[in-house]
């Protein structure tokens, strides 16, 4: 058995345990444990996805999806895990867009967990169209990205202990898998009243 198969089986087993833990925590309204369980599972997914990206095995199943549903589901999921205000901005969200729902959900969820660590009061998740692009944004009201992250060259994220760098590395890879003709998806980071993460996907 290859290590990756063993890893996949192990991840499967651990996620089953985490699923039971999360269900129990949710049933008794235990926000902290729920967040720990779900975030741990997200970390495992990211690890496997990064491995696949390294091996050139990460591929995107591009299908028609509804960005507003994705954001609404993530907002509802995260609200159960934190006392911060989590809100959605969907006024200019398109009805349909083409992307790999699973990969994009993983990237945005990572960005949200990152925002939760730094936000003071609120995190805003937005979906909108911007001149032929879908802009999926996660903003917080924290101290913003440190300069070394903003000054980065794509694909060379400095790794932090919390896994921020790994998340951004994966976001880059996933964005690049979404292309239409010459236009490739990309990640944009900015500081405007906090950190602003944007994943841009071409029409």
């Amino acid at each position: 058995m290859e290590f990756v198969d063993l890893a996949a089986l192990t991840v499967h087993g651990v996620k089953n345990r985490l699923a039971i833990l999360a269900a129990r925590a949710e049933a008794r309204g235990d926000r902290e444990t729920l967040r720990d369980a779900l975030e741990a599972a997200a970390t495992l997914s990211r690890l496997l996805a990064c491995y696949k990206a390294e091996k050139g095995q990460l591929t995107a199943d591009i299908e028609a999806c509804t960005p507003a549903d994705l954001v609404a589901e993530l907002v509802a999921e995260v609200r159960q895990q934190t006392a911060l205000t989590i809100s959605a901005e969907l006024e200019s969200a398109p009805e349909l867009w083409f992307y790999d729902e699973h990969l994009i959900r993983m990237v945005i969820r990572d960005a949200i967990y990152n925002a939760l660590r730094y936000a003071r009061r609120e995190v805003i998740i937005a979906a909108r169209t911007r001149a032929g692009w879908l802009d999926l944004g996660v903003r917080d009201d924290g101290p913003g990205y440190p300069p070394q992250i903003l000054a980065r060259a794509a694909g060379s994220w400095p790794l932090s202990r919390e896994g921020t760098g790994l998340g951004l590395y994966l976001a880059d890879r996933v964005a690049a898998l979404h292309c239409n003709g010459e236009r490739h998806g990309r990640v944009e980071l900015a500081n405007s009243g906090g950190a602003a993460f944007h994943l841009l996907l071409p029409e």
Partner: protein
């Protein structure tokens, strides 16, 4: 009052089936579903258990874990449900899995779950997803019913309504419409439709649909080219490999067919359907070791499960015989026969057993097996069953019975050149080389003569006699659509000219419907429909 309010959700009246082999996961899922106010929840620990529960009462939502233990998985279960039509399209099937990507390889659209739910998830997330998916089912309900009823033309036009609305179900409707056009055998329309979709966006399912439509149109080379491009662009879409394998097999290139199916196995190693396809190609090629390898896997996984198929045992038994291991074949076939009534009455299994018993030197058991096989309704035999039954008859020295079976097979499928070659080979390889030379041509001549004679009599005015001839042939050869269509025409004409007769009307309708079901674009259908209209207005007026 509060409790009553809590019931007013779009899903609280839905009946759930939860299938997971792990008790803890089952109860966790059950309490999550319960917390949403759903009270009608059944759980199952195995495929057998789930099928039993489904046979007792229908459900609205199935939550199925991907890993079911014992070599079976949720995808195999879903394929079984869909191919046996155990659940309609209105039933929501959600696959629960820890990681998407390892297991969710794209199979035929018919066998895709409605959604994947990734563990771990909260009850709240499940609620949101259910609301969304049930809303989609509601929007597509009429289209689902039309598809379940096999009314593909109706389904395609029902899609147009949603396509015109251009809402979030647009792409669902496009996808269903394309498939409906292919199912209705409107190849030209389907090709134009898929090309139009592809001009907007190179969607893999649309490319696959285009290849299917091209195959149907008879443009096998163009279909192969489209599939080659598709596999490069979307290497996980295993349905593309399956179709390409089928195209290679149909053009007689069995090596290329096996090569492409092997490639698909590397992408998705657990598909039973694919191992069965490999076995079919290997059998055609005469590579029985490969048949053993493929079906050995299938049988190991399904032996004690309801996913077991009698045909797998028959095919593997035949491969053992061909490899000179008649004893092994006998053991396997006897085991299969003992699994139940369905298997015991299966003519293919009995025919292969007759051959194996004969080769193993058990004359009495061989004769008994052959008798069992010959009890089946000859008009209902599959091609494989008929061919093997003919072989068994030839081995037993019953050349007349063999001839009768093969004649009927040719006459039921007068255009099927590959089948004709197989029939010729059966005769040649089993001690009747002189018959091999002429049986196919003679049988075709016979049925053409019958048809022409009936048409001649009808034109001469004796529609009743023509109708009798064609009805007899149509009952005997239910797959010969030319005979079926002519029988419908002549019987309707008889009714039109000679008076309403309820028995004749019933048989004419049955023939017409059989043609409609097997080939919705059959050229004679329009003529039949026009005649039906004439019959209707004539007798409606006289009422």
């Amino acid at each position: 009052m509060r409790a009553h309010m809590a019931q007013q959700t779009p899903y609280s009246d839905k009946r759930f089936l939860i299938l997971d082999d792990q008790a803890e996961m089952r109860s966790s899922l059950r309490s999550q579903v319960g917390s949403l106010g759903c009270e009608q929840v059944t759980t199952a620990a195995s495929v057998r258990d789930a099928l039993q529960k489904l046979s007792v009462g229908s459900v609205d939502v199935i939550l199925c874990d991907f890993y079911l233990g014992g070599g079976t998985d949720g995808q195999q279960f879903l394929e079984y449900l869909r191919t046996r039509r155990i659940i309609g399209r209105g039933v929501l099937f959600i696959m629960v899995t820890a990681e998407k990507g390892y297991e969710s390889v794209v199979t035929a659209a018919e066998c895709l779950p409605d959604d994947y739910l990734l563990k771990p998830f909260t009850a709240d997330a499940l609620r949101q997803r259910l609301e969304r998916l049930l809303e989609r089912k509601r929007r597509l309900a009429r289209i689902d019913q039309l598809q379940d009823a096999g009314n593909w033309i109706g389904a395609a036009s029902a899609c147009d309504e949603i396509i015109a609305a251009r809402d979030r179900y647009l792409v669902d409707a496009l996808r269903i419409k394309g498939n409906a056009l292919v199912q209705a055998r409107q190849a030209d329309n389907a090709i134009a439709f898929y090309r139009q979709v592809l001009s907007m966006r190179p969607l893999p399912w649309a490319k696959l649909g285009l290849a299917r439509a091209l195959q149907q149109q008879g443009s096998a080379e163009a279909a192969k080219q489209v599939l080659g491009e598709l596999i490069d662009a979307a290497p996980k879409l295993t349905a593309a490999y399956d179709l390409l394998g089928k195209l290679h097999q149909d053009s007689g290139n069995t090596d290329a067919a096996i090569e492409i199916l092997d490639k698909a196995c590397r992408v998705a190693p657990n598909s039973l359907a694919r191992q069965r396809s490999i076995a079919a190609v290997a059998e055609q090629k005469g590579d029985f070791a490969r048949v053993e390898q493929a079906l050995g896997q299938v049988i190991r996984k399904t032996r004690h499960s309801p996913l077991r198929e009698t045909a797998d045992f028959a095919r593997l038994g035949n491969a053992y015989c061909e490899m000179g291991e008649a004893g092994k074949a006998v053991d396997l076939l006897e085991e299969a026969r003992a699994t139940g009534k369905e298997a015991a009455a299966d003519p293919l299994l009995a025919a292969v057993e007759a051959i194996a018993q004969k080769k193993a030197g058990n004359a009495e058991k061989a004769a008994a097996a052959l008798e069992r096989a010959l009890q089946a309704d000859p008009a209902a035999l599959t091609d494989d069953a008929a061919l093997n039954l003919a072989r068994a008859c030839l081995l037993a020295g019953r050349q007349d019975s063999a001839q009768g079976i093969l004649r009927r097979l040719v006459q039921g499928n007068p255009e099927a050149k590959q089948l004709h070659e197989r029939i010729t080979a059966v005769l040649r390889d089993n001690g009747a080389p002189d018959l091999a030379e002429q049986l196919v041509a003679e049988s075709i001549r016979e049925i053409v003569q019958l048809n022409n004679e009936a048409v001649r009599r009808a034109k001469a005015g004796d529609v009743a006699a023509a109708g009798e001839m064609l009805c007899e042939a149509a009952h005997r050869l239910p797959t010969n659509l030319q005979i079926m269509a002519n029988a419908a025409l002549v019987v309707y004409l008889d009714i039109f000219r000679n008076g309403l007769d309820s028995e004749k009307l019933r048989s004419a309708q049955a023939f017409q419907q059989a043609v409609q079901a097997q080939q919705p674009n059959h050229p004679k259908l329009a003529e039949i429909a026009a005649l039906v209209e004439q019959v209707r207005s004539k007798y409606a007026r006289s009422d």
